[in-house]
Structures are given as structure tokens and as C-alpha cells.
């Protein structure tokens, strides 16, 4: 399967071409290059997937792990070396498909959305760079290659968030995103260092005796790696960068901050899953707890946000929490016995990518139409933009877990896994699922129904988005409708064996009921022009509401830590110390020399008698020195 190299090379080339020669090109040409290349990449990935799965299972009933390419890139020591290569196994192939699909959709969509933007070529160059790095991340043959592309992903995300580099918020957001994830990556790096030292390799398949001898170091390494994953996947408390990242162009949010990059952490955990299960199950459970808490926290915040992209951002965080929980609740590698969560998490990753991208792209259309992110500027848009309305509704149903949309199946599997793990976890997650349904429909009604901002719409009539934007919506909507029926377990499961998904009827029914109830509540509260209940609630729970609206002040805490603590209490004193102590000490030496030279000036009085006195004195002193010592 040597052609897979194209999947990495082509986007890189298009990045170089657009980056170097972009200035000379017309927007259309640049966009076309980027899109065509991505189209080829998408086709290649689909063919790879087909090729790979069609090749069938090996003797042990699992899909073989292929490495078409693997070459030493940077030798570290005799045993350790960083390789560059392509690794194909079920999850990486699945990710290839997801990334190339969403990316292609975003490329097409951006034609319409970014029309006439300054720096159109730069935009497409960065998109290609991002796609390349993301693809490189998923096909990494070793943890270090993963880290390498991980960093590249971070940088391209930084560049894309800061695409509108004249906007203050955009600059701040991009900086925040990069530094927060970088901080998390520190954990990742140290984890890799531990792993490399004790496992004696960077590959994902170390010798077992090495691991056995490593003892508690492997869980430590895995835990540190998870910190890195938590950073990229916006797990609490490292989630703060994601909502701000919405400052970037909306298609970018769809691609990076909904579908692909933010699930890198999930992918990382899935990639290390065998080690987690084998050597650090307790760490895996912590992953579950973190995921659960994040899911709850994000859902509760999402319930009160008024900026639609922020709502979507928090729902993303929440959904990633679901995936983490799915992976975390695994207790063994056997899907029939506690290993179900793995498959569920991956499945949810897949479906979520599709419908969340759909949601964001839809939001993009809406913002494009009303030139604002605030719900206050919307309401009653259903009559202006039907296509967007329908597709958005589908996505909302999917994320709320209403059959037959894809979200239902994947979320159901996760819930099943949770109940298998512990009833508490099960009920908690079901409740969060309900919240999800609630805030998604609050959003839906707020945009398409609810109280309409008449005068604004009168001043400037919202219009349906152009074809280049609606086509991706429709495509993704179709996928969202159909994806649920993919026999996902056939392809991916915790032990690689084939696993047929069967719906656990009582979990399914409960979750659906809960979702329906939540939707009903949302409808009751937000459908109509006047929304007494909502306003009443907001009034009664004023404090809670404000706190939630301000995301429980986590950002302010960070603000405090970075500016007040790091800058004011560390850097400034250090700089002061450097200038006024270390440096002054050197000047002090010079000063001493000068001062002493001034001091002894009088010795040279110009009086010859004093000279000879000193002369004789010197002689006598020397005599004494010699005679006494």
C-alpha cells in the first residue's frame, strides 16, 4: 500500500506551493489547488480503507497492522531512535477517513465562506498544513512521531485561530490555545521520556519483559501522556482554550475544534489502549472520571451561553468527555466483557465528527447570514434559510441521541459500557446526555424559532448560503443519517476481534426517553416568542446562572495565575534580580577598582621626601617580613 505516502505528501506540497507562491495566485486558483489536492487525498484514504478492510482479517481474527513505510529519522541512541513512517491499523484507517472527509467538506465550504477574504491563499495553505499534520499524527508509527505531528497540529491550529491577525481577540485566543496545549504537551513529552527510557523504544509495541521490569513507571508515563491528550482534547481544567478558539474562521472551528484535532487526545488514549489496559487500568479509570466531570461541566456551561459558537464549543468538550468516558470505563480488552467502551468511544468519535462538523458549518451559514454570533441577533431564521434549518435539525437530533440518527447508536454504546462499569457512572452519563439534548434544542429554537430580532432582519434580510456551502451541509447530513447503521464493531473493537453491535434495549429506551423529555422541556421553554420560564429561572438562580455564563470563572483563575503569578511574581523579579543584583555585582567590581585607585592617589603626593619615606618603609617591611617569617 505504498500509495499511502501520497496522503501525507500531497497536502504538504500544496502547503509549500500555496505558502510560497500563494501571493502570486488568484484566490480561485489557490482554493482550487487546495481543494483538488484534498479531494485526491480523500479518495486515497477511502481507497486505503477499502483496500485495508477488504484484505480481510489475519489468522488470529484481527486486522493486521501494516507499515508501508518506516525509516529512522533521528537516531537518539543505540537502541532509541525516532522513526518516520505510516502505520495502518483499524483506528488509524478510520481516522484517515474521518479527517479527509471533514477536511474536504471544509475546503469546499470555505470557497463560499471565505469569499473575498484577505489572505485567502494563506488560509488554504494553513488548511493544507493542518490536514497534513493531522494525517501524519494518526498514521504515526511511534509515539515520538505522534508527538512531532502533535506539535505541528498545535502550530497550524495557532495559525488558523489567529487567521484574522488584526483582531485583538483572535491574537489572544491563538496565543492562549497554543500556550495551554503546549503546557499540556510538556506532560506528554515527559511521559514520552519516561516511556522511551523504560520501554526501551518509542514504538507502540515494546518488549513485554521491559515493561514488566519498569514497574510503576509505565502508569506514570501513561498518566503524563494523558495530560497531553487532555490538553489537546480540552479536558477540564485544560479546556479553556477551546471556547476562545472560536475566534478563528468558522470552517476552521468545524475542522479543527470540532471534528479532528480535539479528538487527538482520544485517539492517543485509544492508541495506547493495550498498555493502559495491560499495565495501568487505574489510570484508565481516572481518564473516565476526568471525562465524566468535563462532560458535565461543559454541558452545564453550554446551557446558558448566548454565543452559538461557544455553545457548540462546550458541547464539543462535553462530547469528547463522552468519548473519554467510553475509553475509560473499559476494564478488559474483551468487548464482550468490559471492553465495549473502546469500540463505543471510537464509534462516537466517528459519528460526532460528522454531525459536529455539520453543526459548525450550519452555524457558519447562520453567522454568514446575520453577521453575528449572538443568539439575540437570530431567532425565526427557519423561513429565511431552509436547507441550513433542516440539516441543523438533523444534527441536533443526532447529538441528542434520537434514533435513527448516528449519534443515538454511538452514545447508546457508551452508556451501555458505563452501566457495565458502574450504575452510578451510567446514570450520570445518561443525565449529561439529557442535558445535551436540552441545550442543543435550546440552541436550535433560539436560532430558528423563538423571539426573532425583527428590526435587524428588516435592516438586512438573512439569505440562504450559496451552493458551495450548502452542498457540504447536505452531504454531512446524509452521512449523519446513515452512519449509525455502519457495523462499526466489525471493523474496530478493543481486541481487534469482530464484534457485532447489539442494542441493549433497556439502556436504549431509557436514553431515548430521557432525550425526548429534555427536548420537550427545551421546546416548552424556548419555542415561543415569549420565554417566561427561562427568564424566570435565570432570575431565580441568578448567581448560578452568572457563574455558568462566566464558565465558572475558570478563565479568570487562569488569567490570575498567568499574569499575576507568572509575570508579576516570577518573571519581573527575576529580570529585576538579573539587572540589579547579578549585573550590578560586575559593575560593583569595576566601581571598587576605580574607588581604590582614587583612594591611593595621595601616595603619589609629588613630594620627593615622601617618596623616599615610602622607599625606606618598603625596605624595612621587606626585611621584617623576611626575618620574622
Amino acid at each position: 500500500m505504498e500509495y499511502t505516502i501520497l496522503i501525507l505528501l500531497l497536502p504538504f506540497l500544496s502547503f509549500l506551493v500555496l505558502g510560497l507562491a500563494g501571493m502570486k495566485m488568484s484566490n480561485r486558483l489557490a482554493g482550487t489547488i487546495g481543494t483538488v489536492v484534498l479531494g485526491i487525498v480523500a479518495v486515497a484514504s477511502y481507497y486505503t480503507a477499502f483496500d485495508y478492510f477488504a484484505a480481510g482479517r489475519g489468522a488470529d481474527g484481527t486486522f493486521p497492522t501494516l507499515m508501508p513505510y518506516n525509516a529512522v529519522w533521528l537516531p537518539i541512541s543505540e537502541s532509541l531512535h525516532i522513526d518516520m513512517g505510516i502505520l495502518l491499523d483499524p483506528i488509524s484507517v478510520m481516522m484517515l477517513v474521518v479527517i479527509s472527509t471533514v477536511s474536504l467538506m471544509v475546503h469546499i465550504y470555505s470557497f463560499g465562506y471565505m469569499k473575498g477574504e484577505r489572505g485567502f491563499q494563506r488560509y488554504y495553505a494553513f488548511l493544507s498544513l493542518f490536514t497534513m499534520s493531522m494525517l501524519g499524527l494518526v498514521v504515526a508509527t511511534n509515539i515520538f512521531q505522534m508527538y512531532l505531528f502533535w506539535e505541528l497540529v498545535g502550530v497550524s491550529s495557532y495559525l488558523l485561530i489567529g487567521f484574522y491577525y488584526t483582531k485583538k481577540e483572535a491574537i489572544a485566543a491563538s496565543k492562549k490555545a497554543f500556550i495551554v496545549t503546549r503546557f499540556a504537551d510538556l506532560g506528554f513529552l515527559v511521559g514520552i521520556l519516561f516511556y522511551g527510557y523504560y520501554a526501551g523504544t518509542f514504538t507502540f509495541t515494546p518488549q513485554l519483559q521491559m515493561l514488566a521490569s519498569a514497574g510503576a513507571m509505565i502508569p506514570l508515563a501513561l498518566g503524563l501522556m494523558f495530560i497531553g491528550g487532555a490538553g489537546k482534547s480540552a479536558m477540564f481544567p485544560l479546556h479553556i482554550w477551546l471556547p476562545d478558539a472560536m475566534e478563528g474562521p468558522t470552517p476552521v472551528s468545524a475542522l479543527i475544534h470540532a471534528a479532528t484535532m480535539v479528538v487527538a487526545g482520544v485517539y492517543l488514549v485509544a492508541r495506547m489502549f493495550p498498555l493502559f489496559i495491560g499495565y495501568a487500568p487505574e489510570v484508565l479509570h481516572w481518564v473516565a472520571y476526568v471525562g465524566a466531570f468535563t462532560a458535565f461541566y461543559a454541558a452545564s456551561v453550554a446551557c446558558v451561553q448566548s454565543d452559538i459558537k461557544r455553545v457548540l464549543a462546550f458541547s464539543t468538550i462535553s462530547q469528547i468527555g463522552f468519548m473519554m468516558v467510553g475509553l475509560g470505563v473499559c476494564t478488559s480488552a474483551d468487548p464482550h466483557d468490559g471492553g465495549l467502551g473502546y469500540m463505543a468511544g471510537m464509534f462516537h468519535l466517528f459519528t460526532h465528527a460528522m454531525f459536529k462538523a455539520l453543526l459548525f458549518l450550519g452555524a457558519g451559514c447562520i453567522i454568514h447570514a446575520v453577521h453575528s454570533n449572538e443568539m439575540s441577533a437570530m431567532g425565526g431564521l427557519r423561513k429565511y434559510m431552509p436547507v441550513t434549518h433542516i440539516t441543523f435539525l438533523i444534527a441536533c437530533l443526532a447529538i441528542s441521541g434520537i434514533p435513527p440518527f448516528s449519534g443515538f447508536f454511538s452514545k447508546d454504546e457508551i452508556l451501555t459500557a458505563c452501566f457495565a462499569f458502574s450504575p452510578v457512572m451510567g446514570w450520570v452519563m445518561s443525565f449529561i446526555a439529557a442535558m445535551t439534548a436540552f441545550y442543543m434544542f435550546r440552541l436550535y429554537y433560539g436560532i430558528f424559532w423563538g423571539r426573532e430580532n425583527k428590526e435587524l432582519h428588516a435592516r438586512h434580510v438573512p439569505h440562504e448560503a450559496p451552493l458551495s456551502m450548502t452542498v457540504p451541509l447536505i452531504f454531512l447530513a446524509l452521512v449523519t443519517c446513515g452512519a449509525g447503521f455502519i457495523p462499526f464493531g466489525e471493523f474496530i473493537s478493543s481486541n481487534g476481534q469482530s464484534y457485532t453491535i447489539h442494542l441493549d434495549s433497556q439502556v436504549a429506551i431509557t436514553s431515548v426517553c430521557i432525550a425526548v423529555v429534555a427536548i420537550a422541556v427545551a421546546t416548552w421553554m424556548y419555542l415561543r416568542e415569549r420565554q417566561p420560564v427561562a427568564d424566570q429561572l435565570a432570575k431565580t438562580f441568578k448567581g448560578l446562572h452568572r457563574a455558568a455564563y462566566h464558565r465558572f470563572y475558570i478563565d479568570d483563575i487562569y488569567q490570575f495565575v498567568t499574569h499575576k503569578v507568572i509575570f508579576a511574581c516570577v518573571s519581573t523579579p527575576i529580570a529585576w534580580f538579573d539587572r540589579h543584583v547579578v549585573d550590578q555585582f560586575m559593575n560593583f567590581l569595576a566601581w571598587c577598582t576605580n574607588a581604590s585607585s582614587e583612594e591611593i592617589r595621595s601616595w603619589q603626593s609629588g613630594n620627593v621626601q615622601q617618596y623616599t619615606r615610602v622607599f625606606l618603609g618598603g625596605v624595612l617591611v621587606l626585611v621584617l617580613v623576611l626575618l620574622l617569617i
Binding site: R601, Q604, S605, G606, N607, V608, Q609, T612, R613, L616
Partner: protein
């Protein structure tokens, strides 16, 4: 018979008298005279050492003679220079001779 020590005492006294004079006189000529004291005390030393310790030879005496001659030459030059100073600043006080300092 006077022993050597007496001579040495005398010469030493001369020596330090000369040094004292050198340190305290205000007039260049006086200083010059003190220097002569120093040099002559040395001459006495040589003579005495030669006479009492190494009577067989004349090195000390000759050294003394040469020293006298040389010191005469030195004094001559010194006086010439002092006269030159007098020409320039109309006096030969040491205290006026400290323009060069620091």
C-alpha cells in the same frame, strides 16, 4: 684600642642622621648634604670592615674611594639641576617641587 663596633655605631648614626635629614629638610641643598652623610657612613663601613675583618686586602678601601668619587659626581649633577630649578622658579624649597603628582 677602639673596637669595630664603635665605628659601626658612628656610621649607623650617620646613616640614620642622613636619612632623617633627607626626610625633614625643606631645602634641596640641605637634603643633598644629608645624602652625603648617608654615602659617607657607607664609606666608613667599608673602611672599617676592611681594616678590622679582612686586613689582608684592600677591596673595601678601594670601594670607599670609588664611592667617594662617584658620589662627588652625583652631587655635582644634583647641584647643577638644583641651580636649574632656581633659575626657573627662583627658589629651591622642596614644597615648590610638587607640580608633578597624582
Amino acid at each position: 684600642m677602639i673596637q669595630m663596633e664603635y665605628y659601626l655605631v658612628v656610621s649607623t648614626i650617620m646613616m640614620f642622621a642622613g636619612i632623617y635629614g633627607f626626610f625633614t629638610r625643606r631645602n634641596l641643598l640641605a637634603i643633598l648634604i644629608s645624602v652625603e652623610l648617608i654615602l659617607n657612613s657607607v664609606d666608613i663601613n667599608f673602611a672599617v670592615f676592611n681594616r678590622f675583618l679582612f686586613p689582608g686586602q684592600l677591596e673595601g678601601f678601594f670601594f670607599a674611594l670609588f664611592a667617594i668619587g662617584v658620589s662627588a659626581a652625583e652631587t655635582a649633577v644634583a647641584i647643577a639641576i638644583i641651580i636649574n630649578i632656581y633659575r626657573n622658579i627662583r627658589n629651591i624649597q622642596v614644597k615648590n617641587m610638587n607640580e608633578l603628582n597624582g
